[in-house]
Amino acid sequence: MARAPRRSLRITANVLGVIAFLIAIFPVYWMVNSSFLARNEIRNPVPTWVPFGGDLDNYRTVFATDQFVNALKMSLMVTVLTIAVALAFAFVAAVAVSRFRFRGRMSFIITLLVIQMIPVEGLFISQYKMLETMDLLNTVIGLSLVYVSLVLPFTIWTLRGFVAGVPYELEEAAMMDGCSRTQAFFRITFPLLAPGLVATGVFGFIQAWNEFTLALVVMTREDQRTLPLWLSTFTDVNRGTDWGGIMAGSTLIAIPVVVFFLIVQGRMVGGLTSGAVKG
């Protein structure tokens, strides 16, 4: 009795699966495809599906503009600074939360959860005013400061899980063998945490690299744009948009993110359900 519906269920599932695959992948494919097409192929009512006659002209155009190179530098500086500071701060905080019991621990954890839910739009007006007063608008330090507060809660939350995952008994054993508590921590626990630190750092990188809203608020000057800002202004100027160039730019921005994402994704899924981050 169950046989017939089972088979049709399997066929339906497979057909819908293929459709879902096509819808999910098509924009990504179209981005890469268009990035290789010449202007006359882009501006053709009949689309070119496979870039047979394609070349790298669009990429050359992108790299030839100062704006892209500037934005790339900007993005790299902000991202590196953000991650370095956030990882260092988050690491010690994660150790405190998972290796000690102290008054205020639970409130700290609750605060982390609540902060992660705050929409950036809810605070960017006063963050703008604050950075203006501190004379930090349009600076790498200013943007990094707000980015650190953006990635820190999630970073602490995730690292906490990694620290707690290293059994305390290992440290105790090392202390029995004559290590001090600090030595035990750095010789035993820290090396075991390295993969967790890398994964969390990569995740912070993706967030800072992709971030648009705060960059828009803090970096008002054209020469201080990060990559997402640069890309967004590419489209709004006029209607004679250079789609080939935009797609080349989008591909360039997406490549590091996609590669990193695929590497850390498996590790972070658990953290995502319990942490909550989205661009």
Binding site: G104, R160, A164
Partner: protein, 303 residues
């Protein structure tokens, strides 16, 4: 688990370890929050921006806002957009996760690869691609619809508000489904096969098994994921802002986030913008409370 940890002796060490993080959060989030509350009770417009001292006006900003029909329109629009997007995302994501169990292995790997790529795409890059797909003149979507026999030659998707929000919904759902599908699928793999089989032996049909065995087992995950979608979709900014730049009337397509931005950074009305932002924070707190409660419960159980 983490509480199995040592050291009940009083020591200032944990506080010292927390200090950098707490200081950073207090500076970049805490201080602005306080300042924003202050700002929302002040008349702070362009004149103040150019040096005049701000004046205290009590709840005037809030009164102006609450009596402004536009704020309510934007709020209702944001809520409607948020609920529709969250519902569509959940329906497609959960549906895919359920179907994934019945797919051939090859197809499932294919679906997961596609979803992973869509998930990994940077927001702004996805937005430019979707704009290009929906392009009036040379967009593939107009081309395909025309080939299918509809007249979509030169159709401007972003011009009318409803159509604008349709495009925004397609983009938001495309970006959000992978997270839902993967998380729910992971939860489904934890559902005991024995229970499902037992129900089958007892004569339960596929739909009955779904309703009475599978869905109840993954209910907690569904709740948290659904709540996250609502919270995330209430604060869409990038998608709306960039689509607004590409065309469409700003006034008719503003959601809360873009409204605050245009009011404050765009228009210099910092006092009013701060009041709307506080309003949005309040709305978020209301929506977030059940999520935080669920997470804390999970947290306590894992201890």
């Amino acid at each position: 688990m983490s509480d199995r940890a040592p050291r009940r002796r009083r020591t200032p060490l944990p506080y010292a370890l927390l200090l950098p993080a707490v200081a950073a959060l207090a500076l970049a989030l805490g201080y602005p929050l306080v300042r924003q509350v202050v700002l929302s009770f002040q008349d702070f417009g362009l004149a103040q921006q150019f040096g005049q001292p701000p004046t205290w006006i009590g709840v005037d900003n809030y009164r102006d806002l609450i009596t402004d029909p536009y704020l309510w329109r934007v709020t209702l629009r944001s809520l409607a957009f948020c609920l529709v997007n969250a519902a569509v995302t959940m329906a497609i994501g959960v549906g895919l996760a359920l179907l994934m169990r019945h797919m051939a292995k090859g197809v499932r790997v294919l679906v997961q690869t596609g979803l992973l790529l869509a998930w990994a795409m940077p927001v702004v890059a996805s937005l430019t691609v979707w704009q290009w797909l929906f392009d009036t003149q040379y967009g593939v979507i107009n081309y395909l619809l025309t080939e299918l026999g509809f007249d979509f030659v030169g159709h401007p998707w972003l011009l009318r508000p409803l159509s604008f929000f349709f495009v925004a919904t397609v983009i938001v759902v495309w970006m959000s489904v992978p997270f839902v599908a993967f998380t729910v699928y992971a939860a489904l793999t934890q559902v005991s096969e024995d229970m499902v089989e037992a129900a089958e032996i007892d004569g339960a049909g596929a739909l009955q098994r779904l309703r009475h065995v599978v869905l109840p087992a993954i209910r907690p995950v569904l709740l948290v994921v659904g709540l996250l979608q609502v919270i995330w979709d209430l604060r869409v900014f990038t998608q709306i802002f960039i689509l607004q730049q590409a065309g469409g009337s700003t006034r008719d397509t503003n959601l809360l986030g873009t409204y605050i931005y245009r009011l404050g950074i765009g228009g210099g009305e910092f006092g009013m913008a701060a009041a709307v932002a506080i309003f949005m924070l309040a709305l978020t707190v209301i929506l977030t409370a059940p999520y935080v409660r669920a997470m804390l419960k999970q947290e306590r159980e894992s201890l």
